[in-house]
Subunit: 211 residues, 2 copies
Amino acid sequence: MRIGELAQRTGVPVPTIKFYAREGLLPPGERTSPNQVRYDDTHVRRLKLIRAMLEVGGMSVTAVGQVLARMDAPDRTVHSMLGAAQSAVSRTAGDRGTPQDRERAEADVAELVRRHGWTARPRHPGWAALVQLVMTYRDLGRDDLLALLDEYASAAARLAEAELATVARVPTVDGKIETVVLGTVLGDTAMAALRRIAQENASARMSTPSA
Amino acid sequence: MRIGELAQRTGVPVPTIKFYAREGLLPPGERTSPNQVRYDDTHVRRLKLIRAMLEVGGMSVTAVGQVLARMDAPDRTVHSMLGAAQSAVSRTAGDRGTPQDRERAEADVAELVRRHGWTARPRHPGWAALVQLVMTYRDLGRDDLLALLDEYASAAARLAEAELATVARVPTVDGKIETVVLGTVLGDTAMAALRRIAQENASARMSTPSA
């Protein structure tokens, strides 16, 4: 198909398609004559995936580029795809607090991870975010909130089993890779949305006029 | 204390403190002479909270301002604070898909919410995000991922109970209000971080050289 039909089938305007191609997000089409390029269904699917990551996942164009590069790498595996997707969607918070504060928070996170039977390397983006979070709770004098981390961890463990089982059910490697990307990029959005609905319901049930 | 000591105790540079004050995030200090302003412990605490929302929660200055305005409103309640915090941290995704696609996704979300014994108004930020997500899964032909939403919803319900119980245990209204803000703003960060660690562990266990 020509670029106009590609735009029509995906709802992505032609100049935007050209921008994605220039940025390396979209593979080039097949040049069939000096001023004509042909696209196929793989371009339709790739464009839908790009829009999902940008609009629903809230990712930057740079982060989307990192994920797609890994998806297209010849040596990709499901496990390496997970690492690349996690890195692309993780923000790195500033490095605050004294070395003592940091050391204490690192020990707390190590203990939490051990309690749930996990291993985690201190370079893992999830680890770094947790250390920052523990330091923040402590800095605000809210050590009482640390107990909630065990609740989150138990929920996360159950969800990870369900997510990986979903990946296992997909027959092709291409499909598994895509599932890992969608689970990482859109899974956070899904969980955040459902947490908000659940919180509002719990809060409405518990709220009184004076609270 | 003077602004220099405030900067030292919070690790926030003086020009940044002045910027937050100009933007209305930080209440003015008490002017004790034409060129001297005095700050107290409430400013220390407020600055720590601002940094937590910006750096650990990844919020914009505008969103932080919305949350703080609601925290300081005379008619604030725990429940209205939750609504304001949820709105401030929610992104609104673009309005894609045909009216038919949207109607079908709305019906799916209504059914999901009903299955979990919740009520939700279609204007709720969590609802809008879920509708967009369901449309995206369908657009990519990945209806198989919709089943995961029930797993997320069950986990979200359990977590909301634990979070609200934590709020209930805080004795003062000021403390409850702050807990709701921290739970909304930092809770997503905590859950995302623990999901990444849990996913990596599940994936490492299940991965084989050929996958």
